[in-house]
Symmetry: C2
Amino acid sequence: MSFMNFNKSTEYAFRILGFLALDERKIYSTDEIYNKVKIPYRYLRKQLTNLTKKGLINSVQGKHGGYRLTKKKSEISLYDIVVCMEDGVLSNECFFGYTDCHLIEKCAMHDKWEEISSSLNNLLKTMNLADITRKEYPAFF
Amino acid sequence: MSFMNFNKSTEYAFRILGFLALDERKIYSTDEIYNKVKIPYRYLRKQLTNLTKKGLINSVQGKHGGYRLTKKKSEISLYDIVVCMEDGVLSNECFFGYTDCHLIEKCAMHDKWEEISSSLNNLLKTMNLADITRKEYPAFF
DNA sequence: AGAAAATAATACCTCTGGGTGTCATTTATG
DNA sequence: CATAAATGACACCCAGAGGTATTATTTTCT
């Protein structure tokens, strides 16, 4: 049970990119992706072209087309993905939702909140697509 | 810079309840609250009756009416507030947004994600309204 | 009793995230 | 060169969060 969560589209990006990372050379069609990653078909289509525009994946058009990671899986951190997907969401707000918290004195939550959110940031920066597709772990789709 | 944040209405609840905690006996009118807590006036009104319905505050109607905490400030944890406000948001989803993650084997993110989200939970359970209004800290409004 | 000062109720507006549907374009191949 | 198999581009829908506006209701005070 948690209060933390990302946007659906960010979660979807994790799944999609994680799946593509299984074979970073291969070109996967939407249908192949669809069968593994549980995302509504139309929305998956949309997300795939989004990810392409954002530069996280390359698309190959035409027959036998599909998608593939733009970089090596070990070079794409979860942090990169989140930053890319949550552009607007990424906030400078403090615990109470104020934007100028750092300007005035620190509130009672400041340090503790900072600590947790920076350990989250670290986790995201540390983990990359190679890490989450290691064989020790079950495929997450 | 953080990816974590609560709903606006939860943040507003923190502010409002934190303000009321300054004097847990006193009945504060909407106007008094409005001048300190930066929340759009009409929306503040709405939130105040919401908080009343949810049982976090008591309202006193009529002239000289207003609002007051239902419990002692030391008895209301931030966790209580979040649970109360984010009823629908509180999720059982894993890092990748799957709901049945715990049924199958653990994914690569499971433990680390769990660790961070439980340290957040702990923080929220530990801190109460008395804590965030301690004099060492500046008023956060 | 009636005015004033407060909250309660209700209805509406707007924007965005998530999701769907249709048609256009690109490319491999028989 | 035509067709099939893929992605791209739009355009729309829906629900919920955040916010606004108006009209009731409750209570105090003179």
